[in-house]
């Protein structure tokens, strides 16, 4: 369905729920999902508020195409102020609960205040209840999922919730849905737990409605699916090899962050790659990869479902991990693998299972472990700090033990749960934190992919690949090839990717469609579904408006242009191997031009003219 035009507001302090109409003027300006919830957040909270205090709000939000037959139309986002970065946070997830919320009749859930005791929200269409969560508080989300499903005697409920890492204050805890899909970044799960909210349990049976022109919508979505089917990347590459096929691509291109981003190529990449996941193991003759998987309405099906060898040290006596589950995706494989120097595929798969089971971001976790390993190597950290763990680069045992400790919020895991920035500051070496605005880097070294350096530095939620994925152009040639080592033209490229991505996200579809679709493919689908006229130009304008709205939030929260930076290691220490040998991240050559084309002043503040043009003044 397009917008249901209904918002559910939950006051956790008072334990009340109320229904209100969706602000349709804002829906025309911000479309839905990321954009629309960001508008609500900007209007409703003080950007300077304590992210973990009752004044922060948490929004679970769908887009107009969520729950429809549009390919990949299953996305939802969790929006709030981030405790990790202090910026606006918007974490996007697939799976099935987004569509379920829509089928229950809700565009958005807004949680405010803080419950005096642990609760969860149960939704069955219009029936909404806040229920006692004592039985599931202190349990992993996997265990809680099982208990809640049994309690409600409904195998078809969809559940989003937090694990023990969030409850114990891990600053990069996510909100997990459908067991292994995650609104993973920026600590949105930590905010959920800070409100004593364990989970949302939802069943929606109302079906699809409110589509403006159903026949045209069917035609437009079918045309979109044909484009995805006929495109070699979305029709063949992603279903067969998933995101993990990038492990060897990025390593060959010399852009693989390795050993806490000290190096740009990892000798063990081939052992933890998408290809390696297909190879039968020597130990049991079975491959790590069990099958691929799709989220709601997705016709790409890039997801990975894997199984760890039952004889592997991590699960030898733990039959609860003998089944198959989600992962490895490339981002988890990189952060848990090359950045920590661990090349044991099953150990990475197990660590990723733990990240899903107790709900924390494998990118931030892996990067923090990598920083700790560098500190250990330098003698700043000792076994006294780590609780006796030999915390060396390459140690699979250190990695998997660390994952278990962060999951439960125990021992050295409490330190690692701070995230790389606070962890490195605590031990007196802030320069070893590979973060922007406090958020850990994803899987592309900006010394070898210059556009990504600018994308990381200017991302509104800290270092992130999903705000402007110029890797598509710089490495893979989508939509056209640009030189990854050149800086010319990159400010324009980054801006174009950022604005378009905001529009894709806000429609409620997956950004992976953009490997085949442009906004020209999205606009007819949105236009057939939604009130108003939705052209490519309008979507781009909406995307730019969203980007500037998020920027305005961050500036009001106290961030400045000085926060649009990169760690010194990337700006000063040249890559020493691979195609980028001798190169540093040339942020200084790109940032002023980026500000200019954005219509911002030299301090990175949108000018009055820009705000007026975008309807933000």
């Amino acid at each position: 369905m397009a917008w249901t035009k209904k918002v559910l507001r939950v006051n956790l302090t008072r334990g009340t729920v109320s229904v209100e109409p969706l602000n349709m003027e804002w829906a025309q300006q911000y479309l839905g999902q990321r954009g629309l919830a960001s508008k609500y957040l900007v209007e409703e909270i003080d950007p300077k508020c304590d992210a973990l205090g009752p004044d922060n709000k948490l929004m679970l939000v769908t887009g107009p195409l969520t729950g429809t037959m549009a390919s990949t139309g299953g996305r939802y986002s969790v929006v709030c102020k981030s405790p990790l970065t202090g910026t606006i946070a918007c974490s996007n997830s697939g799976g099935y609960i987004g569509a379920e919320l829509k089928n229950a009749g809700w565009d958005m859930l807004i949680f405010e205040g803080k419950s005096p005791k642990p609760v969860y929200l149960y939704i069955r269409n219009e029936h909404v209840e806040l229920l006692d969560a004592a039985e599931v508080w202190g349990k992993s989300i996997w265990e809680a999922d099982k208990i809640l499903r049994k309690k409600h005697q409904d195998p078809n409920v969809r559940i989003s919730g937090v694990g023990r890492s969030a409850e114990t204050g891990c600053l990069y805890a996510g909100v997990i849905n459908d067991l292994h899909r995650a609104a993973g970044r920026s600590g949105v799960g930590t905010v959920m737990a800070s409100k004593n909210l364990k989970a949302v349990v939802c069943r929606g049976t109302k079906g699809v409605g409110n589509v403006k022109d159903p026949l045209r919508f069917m035609q437009a979505t079918e045309a979109g699916k044909k484009v995805l089917r006929d495109n070699a990347v979305t029709g063949q590459g992603l279903p067969a090899y998933g995101t993990q096929v990038l492990m060897n691509v990025i390593n060959e291109a010399g852009a693989m962050p390795t050993y806490n981003m000290r190096e740009t190529q990892f000798p063990g990449a081939h052992k933890i790659s998408g290809e390696a996941m297909h190879q039968p193991r020597e130990s049991d003759g079975k491959p790590n990869l069990t099958t691929n998987a799709a989220c709601f309405a997705c016709t790409i099906a890039c997801g990975r479902i894997s199984t760890v060898d039952r004889g592997h040290y991590t699960i030898k006596n733990k039959p609860e991990y003998w089944g198959s589950s989600g992962g490895l995706e490339y981002e988890a494989a990189w952060a848990l693998g090359s950045d920590t120097g661990v090349d044991d595929l099953d150990a990475l798969t197990y660590a990723n299972f733990i990240c899903n089971e107790d709900g924390f971001d494998p990118i931030s976790f892996g990067s923090t472990v990598a920083a700790a390993m560098e500190l250990y190597e330098q003698g700043v950290l000792t076994k006294e700090h780590t609780g006796g763990i030999e915390f060396k680069f390459g140690s699979a045992a250190a990695l998997t033990t660390a994952a278990e400790l962060v999951a439960r919020g125990e021992g050295f895991g409490r330190d690692l749960a701070l995230g790389s920035k606070r962890f490195c500051a605590k031990y007196g070496r802030p320069e070893l934190s590979m973060t922007v605005k406090g958020q850990e880097f994803p899987a592309y070294d900006p010394r070898a992919i210059q556009g990504m350096g600018l994308a990381y530095a200017t991302s509104n939620r800290g270092a992130c690949h999903l705000r402007g994925y110029t890797v598509a152009s710089e490495i893979m040639g989508i939509p056209e090839k640009t030189d990854p080592l050149a800086t010319a033209g990159k400010p324009e490229l980054v801006k174009a990717f950022q604005d378009a991505t905001a529009a894709f996200d806000s429609a409620g579809i997956c950004i992976f469609t953009s490997f085949a679709w442009t906004l020209d493919d999205v606009a007819p689908q949105v236009d057939a579904a939604c009130d108003g006229e939705w052209t490519t130009e309008k979507l781009l304008h909406v995307g730019e408006r969203i980007w500037n709205l998020e920027r305005q939030f961050n500036l009001a929260a106290g961030l400045t242009g000085k926060d649009d930076s990169l760690p010194k290691r990337l700006l000063k220490d040249a890559a020493n191997v691979g195609p980028a040998k001798g190169h540093v991240a040339e942020l200084g050559k790109m940032l002023p031009q980026y500000y200019q084309i954005r219509g911002w002043n030299d301090q990175g503040v949108p000018t009055a003219d820009t705000l007026k043009r975008l309807g933000l003044s």
Partner: protein, 83 residues
């Protein structure tokens, strides 16, 4: 001259038996282009999407030029993406 050829994802099936880590050392003529090397291994060119020579992208034109030197690494993928 001797080079390293790496065939990834679905192209791995065109590597000779015994190849490790998706790579094989092979002898090619001094004038060989990327496409000629791939034809030597019976790789259907229509399946070839991303070609990196020592990690640097080769565009469609360069794939037919003799620009490979001894000890180079030629790495090739079918259509792939991720994130």
């Amino acid at each position: 001259m001797r080079i390293t050829l790496k065939l990834f994802a679905g192209l791995g099936q065109f590597l000779p038996a015994g190849a490790k880590a998706n790579a094989v050392q092979t002898e090619v003529p001094e004038t060989a282009s990327a496409h000629q090397v791939l034809e030597q291994f019976n790789v259907p060119l229509e399946k070839v999407h991303l070609v990196l020579l020592n990690g640097v992208y080769l565009d469609a034109h360069a794939r037919n030029e003799s620009m490979i030197k001894a000890d180079d690494v030629l790495a090739v993928w079918p259509p792939v993406a991720g994130g």
